[in-house]
Symmetry: C2
Subunit: 212 residues, 2 copies
């Protein structure tokens, strides 16, 4: 039985949970918080990041590494395209979604939601404004050039769609919505990903946890 470690409001944990749903893999979930001094997490995730996954004698961390492993070990219901160049494009979009885009979008969430609600400190509106008005727009411009007007990027839902959309679930908890007038394709992709049958139940469970 697979064990997945990591709080489900992490954009990266959410991505892995969606992949587990798509592949209909049963797993045990331990909602560890990263960087919280959780000794159980430190044992399975040397950098104390989430997600981490244990499958028998295998212990890995990092959502990209985990998704790739799940694809190889549980190949039914693929979550990456099979064409070699499409697969490389999907890997690149996954990387893009998990680095610059996640930093900006999850940064909005961190500064506007976590800081006041969890850390009980005042929101620095200057930081939030900079993320929304300076950091995020050029990233969204690039994403807009990479995603289709309809459907998913490679036909069926893949990790590329999940990686681009997941950070904006967090941003939405902080009242940030992708402007559909400026970025209609990415705004539409976000709606389609979050409505997908592998994703929507995850978001309902999260909203319940957030008292939403």
């Amino acid at each position: 039985m697979i064990t997945l470690y990591g709080a489900n409001a992490s954009p990266f944990v959410r991505k892995v949970m969606a992949v587990l749903n798509i592949k209909e893999i049963e797993y045990k979930h331990i909602p560890s918080m990263p960087f919280s001094g959780d000794k159980e997490l430190a044992k399975v995730s040397p950098l104390e990041k989430v997600p981490a996954l244990v499958d028998g004698d295998l212990n890995i961390a990092d959502s990209k590494v985990i998704c790739r492993y799940l694809e190889s070990a549980y190949p039914e219901a693929p979550v990456y395209p099979t064409d070699v160049k499409d697969r490389a494009r999907a890997d690149w979009l996954e990387e893009y979604g998990g680095t610059a885009l996640a930093e900006a979008a999850a940064g909005i969430f961190f500064n506007r939601f976590m800081v006041p609600n969890v850390f009980k400190r005042p929101v620095d509106e200057e930081v939030v404004d900079d993320l929304i008005n300076n950091k995020l727009p050029p990233l969204l411009d690039y994403v807009e050039s990479q995603v289709p007007a309809d459907g998913f990027i490679f036909g069926d839902l893949t990790v590329a769609d999940l990686a681009l959309a997941s950070p904006f679930v967090n941003a939405r908890y902080a009242q940030y919505t992708i402007d559909a007038a400026k970025w209609p394709r990415m705004s539409g992709l976000f709606e389609r990903v979050t409505a997908h049958s592998a994703v929507a139940p995850l978001l309902e469970a999260e909203a319940a946890a957030f008292g939403g």
Copy 2:
């Protein structure tokens, strides 16, 4: 013909060049500097990071994405293990080498070599000491638990070995050497990787460029 963008003293570009050597793939090399306002680089690498690679109509950035693509498109002379769990472990070690370990080891290089020689500013010895004495030792302790006393991690040289060793080539330019008394396995692995026929010629070319 493949075109590879990125200064060859980058730990990530070096890793990709070693993979291209192992696979005996011919390529054109453009030694772009990251974050330097290089417009040619920005066209192929949206985040202006290196390495970036163009192969026909495919354009990808990030060394992990590139190495994975090269493995799929040019499968001869594999650079990842084939067993599914070993492959996942290799992916994880590649991630570890490219994040926390690269930040610390390349941080020594940046602060002790680039700052005085390229940016012509004084070295902040406090920052360098913190990297060497606080940040790096626990990372090396973990790596030491993951690498063998002889040979490479998965038998033949793979991306996992390259990703763990490459940042320490940079640290060596800043007079940092892995202490063989404390970390004999990683110290030995570093020696074996840098002596490998796919890597040693790269280091000779770098040393010539650095006037070494």
